[in-house]
Symmetry: C2
């Protein structure tokens, strides 16, 4: 088994280094190969996604990614050479990663870090956002800007909606059996097709309770009563917005992993938080979201549920023991750095 390791930019290298230590202990048989991506790759090679990196990913069974981007590369004149548009989006597209799973979990030990009143989080919060990742406005053509008029195009085919709907329903089947599909069908034609298609696919999942919300209402309901949700399935751009909103609601952003899957077992795994250039190199970044991404990698790409659970249990134990990096600490609480946090996880394993 082979995993490509792409540390990337900002805090990426620091947190990936710790996640790799965990992976080596839990699954020593997996072969790890590092490659450049993002601003780091641009600086070294002139392109944020060098062909070798893409080849390595294609030749691997899974990819572990840190994060890409930072102010240094926001000013690259050709936007197609910036880390996001030049590396992250092409990786998703070329690797066919159409299903992005973003769990928004509030760890009870961290509930105090949430903006929400404690009564809204009682008993924890566990929402899974299933975001379509290779369609919609991100990739639709034409996409142009002549300085006086700009155009983006949102395109969805029925097939694209069918396959992500299945991911949503199957995820719901394994959890609370409730799926909420989010669209804007009172305005968008792609949403009219989205809703009709999800309704059709629903017939294959009579055990899942399906509901629909308009995206503006979904943004309200997430604030009003997030526990009403089990699994949310939605298109690319809405998923970008709602998954970040949901992640921040938990107060546990530094803890949240993500998986991007295609057909088969190949997947790309990365923390939900970004490259956090402001704290890069300080040794204080929270490695837990990346460590938990390793758990997702073991579960989804290798079917190694036991090892995945081992990591998740270790992380919970460390939190329970009160270890906190600055991002999840309440004012006055003692904090540890990136390496000490990972050491604590390793000690639990």
């Amino acid at each position: 088994p082979k995993v490509a390791v792409l540390p990337g930019d900002g805090i990426g290298p620091e947190i990936v280094a710790e996640a790799v230590r965990v992976l080596r202990v839990v699954a020593p048989d997996i072969e790890l190969t590092e490659a450049l991506v993002g601003g780091a790759a641009y600086d070294a090679t002139g392109h944020p996604l060098p062909p070798e990196t893409l080849e390595l990913c294609k030749a691997s069974d899974a990819v572990l990614l840190g994060a890409v981007g930072g102010p240094k590369w926001d000013v690259i004149p050709d936007p197609n050479l910036r880390p996001e548009r030049g590396a992250l989006l092409p990786l998703r597209k070329h690797l066919g990663l159409y299903a992005n799973l973003r769990p928004a979990i509030c760890y009870p030990a961290l509930a105090a870090a949430s903006s929400l009143k404690p009564e809204l989080l009682e008993g924890g919060l566990d929402v899974l956002v299933v975001r379509e990742l290779t369609g919609g406005m991100y990739f639709g053509l034409p996409k142009e800007n002549d300085g006086n008029r700009a155009v983006d195009t949102c395109v969805y085919t029925k097939d694209e909606i069918v396959r992500i709907a299945h991911v949503g329903f199957q995820a719901a089947q394994k959890r609370g059996k409730k799926l909420c599909s989010v669209d804007k069908q009172n305005v968008l034609m792609t949403s009219v097709l989205w809703r009709a298609t999800v309704e059709e696919v629903a017939k294959e999942y009579p055990d899942v309770q399906l509901s629909h919300l308009l995206v503006d209402n979904a943004a309200m309901q997430l604030v009003r009563w997030p526990k009403q949700f089990d699994v949310i399935v939605t298109e690319n751009l809405f998923g970008d917005i709602l998954s970040d909103q949901a992640a921040m609601l938990t107060g546990s952003l530094g803890m949240l992993p993500s998986a991007s899957l295609g057909t088969g077992t190949f997947g790309l795994y990365e923390p939900c938080h970004g490259s956090a250039p402001d704290i890069a190199g300080k040794g204080i970044a929270n490695p837990l979201a990346t460590i938990l991404s390793v758990a997702m990698l073991l579960r989804y790409s290798f079917g190694r549920e036991t090892e995945a659970k081992r990591i998740e249990t270790a992380v919970e134990a460390v939190l329970g023991a009160g270890l906190r990096t600055p991002d999840i600490a309440q004012s006055g609480e003692a904090t540890v750095g990136t390496i000490a946090m990972a050491d604590a996880v390793l000690a639990q394993l």
Copy 2:
């Protein structure tokens, strides 16, 4: 001075009736003419925006709208005859209402109704979302769906961005002098044009502090620390989502008015909440958002600041006296109905 009054659907007629009573007392010289819109118009005439209604609006100085839509009309086979796509969007487009002002204010008396922890709302919350209302994915062509593939198009011209940017900067000048422009410039070409144009317009407003946020980050920041915002300016769809999210964060949704403005002083005014079909006809809807929309109407379309303030002061007094419709009551608090609430406002005037 002439105002067209369009009660619409659901709770629309109930709340508009009360707002009209207030308007008659405060500005008895204004001539009011009622017309059909939305599902009510569809049922009566076969179209949700009859030509007479549009003509009346065009011949008026301002429009007071209740709300349109409801499950009854969601199933009209031709989506272009449904209230939203057949009445609301054409009204905005035909009347040239490109600037939608949505204040998200947390009334200190209602802070307990918010999902947010009290410390995040200390001293109140007052964010103004300026949403572009006649461009973007709402109106861009092609817009099509053949059942197998659907397309929506997001188009922005520089002129459209320039004029809404001015609205944003001028609103900020009159308030906290901070403007946050929200886009998704790492993915969308329309956002690249948006950001560059806002930067250009900024040169005319050296007294306003401009910042930019990506829409996913904006959704997070609204949750994390909403008081960091003064005025937010953004495109149509992002404004739809973020203004609803911000409104719900305040906990005062039933209190929030909105103004949709074009060039000149013409404007359309409506509550931010919708037609609430579930409570229609029960006499319990909160009329305050519509009453406060009348205040905005007097201010923006007629420059009658004194009368606007009179209404706003009366509403605050009524809240201060503890009157609550069910939507803003805490459990256990006594509530009043739509008419009693409006009576209380009138008694204050």
